[in-house]
Symmetry: C2
Subunit: 233 residues, 2 copies
DNA sequence: GCGCTATAAAGTGTATGCACTTTTGCCATG
DNA sequence: CATGGCAAAAGTGCATACACTTTATAGCGC
């Protein structure tokens, strides 16, 4: 009983997973950060057994790196990984939009617009909140298909994309996403399915490009490149 | 040291997962079959801890159903699940083909043709072997992209598709797949990427349709229907 | 003979303990 | 002062133990 994360009746392991997932996409946990089982268990008020199991799940989702006899770490996606993740994400979210186009209820539109409103309110706040809300927008959209398997894959790939952004993107790159989300809602609600799917693809490409194109913070991990300018003297 | 599954240096948990995955796509394990932790651990020569962890992984992959305080069971996909799984599979394997078209080496073509040859040899053997080999064909193809994240998702969705087939398909529905695989190799090696991707989509659609359209073995779990012919006397 | 309940058996949820591995930090040595 | 190696500390890998939950069984009343 160290922290307030007591979800007593519920599943403690799921709580750990969700906590870490959230910390990751908000950028509170960065690639390479260590996740020792003891520390994890202690901060969530459970034994190492549960923490270990949770790490296994997160590793299966690609958010955590697990190597034998080594401390678990937050996965460090390469730019190539990020590219592949966004390609897959485009393919999956095209399907979401295809299934949804023309079938959004007024309630659903309201739910989506509410999230965008939150994004708007948070646009000058901490960087992590923006990424989290943008992610939530896409996940809620997927949930509206009522296709649990599709939801599962979209959710997973969204978290991986969020990690890639937190890891590789330059800060404040998510500004225009808000208006794009609004336009998406409109086109999904009214427009033809193919047009809407195309717009989703363009939106995701734009996010990936804005964030990953030139910012490329990953070089800062590469000692050779970092020190190259200094090696001449 | 009860069985021969000793993979000593390696990861015992991965061995359990792989064993169960294979048993599932070969149809040795059917949807609803129970997987108690003790029995599992005993048959693989490990403690319940490891077996439990393995079940967690398989649940994350959607092959196993895990409910609190209940014995784990092999997932029973509904026809709707199967439909969604194949939709996702089409989207992912299109990407595989897109990336691969025109870039297959002679060695890679040989590897693929060898698998098809094995499929040919096994076409009158046990039903499970055919599904396993067909699955292997698609997974190897994905591996040739050298995109680990794409490989991971394709592999997972292929296993889920295999489970759906074993669960829902009528027997001996995989005959034509062999010639289609050969044609696929050819078109991926030489043809334009879009054409090849379309062919992959058609191939997968055909597999799904042949297997799932009318066979619908799920009714056979329905006692009323099973016993109807016998209820008249 | 049939259904209901009490009780035992089987199974899961979780913590803890111990062996083994990796990491860390310190000290001796060149 | 830098460097190599060794010992303690930290951490993982795994099995076992025990409490609690579900499921199966057998006995009892009707």
């Amino acid at each position: 009983m160290t922290t307030g994360a007591r979800t007593v009746g519920g599943d403690r392991m799921a709580a750990i997973c969700q906590g870490i997932r959230r910390a990751i996409i908000e950028g509170a946990l960065l690639p390479g950060d260590r996740l020792p089982e003891d520390a994890l268990g202690e901060s969530f008020g459970v034994s190492r057994t549960i923490a270990r199991h949770a790490l296994g799940q997160l590793a299966a989702e690609g958010l955590v790196d697990l190597r034998r006899n080594r401390i678990a770490t937050v996965t460090a996606p390469t730019p190539a990984d990020a590219r592949d993740i966004f390609d897959i994400r485009v393919a999956l979210e095209r399907q979401v939009v295809q299934h949804l186009a023309g079938h959004l209820s007024a309630d659903q539109v309201a739910v989506l617009k509410d999230i965008v409103q939150q994004e708007h309110d948070a646009r000058h706040g901490p960087d992590g909140a923006s990424i989290r809300l943008a992610t939530e927008f896409h996940i809620r959209l997927a949930e509206m298909t009522s296709k649990p398997i599709l939801v599962r894959y979209v959710t997973e790939i969204c978290y991986r994309a969020g990690l890639s952004l937190a890891a590789l993107a330059r800060p404040h790159s998510s500004e225009c996403a808000i208006s794009e989300h609004l336009a998406l809602i409109d086109l999904i609600a009214r427009g033809p399915a193919d047009k809407a799917a195309d717009m989703m693809a363009e939106h995701l490409e734009a996010v990936a490009t804005r964030a990953l194109l030139s910012g490329d913070r990953s070089r800062s991990r590469d000692l050779v490149n970092i020190l190259q300018p200094y090696a001449k003297g």
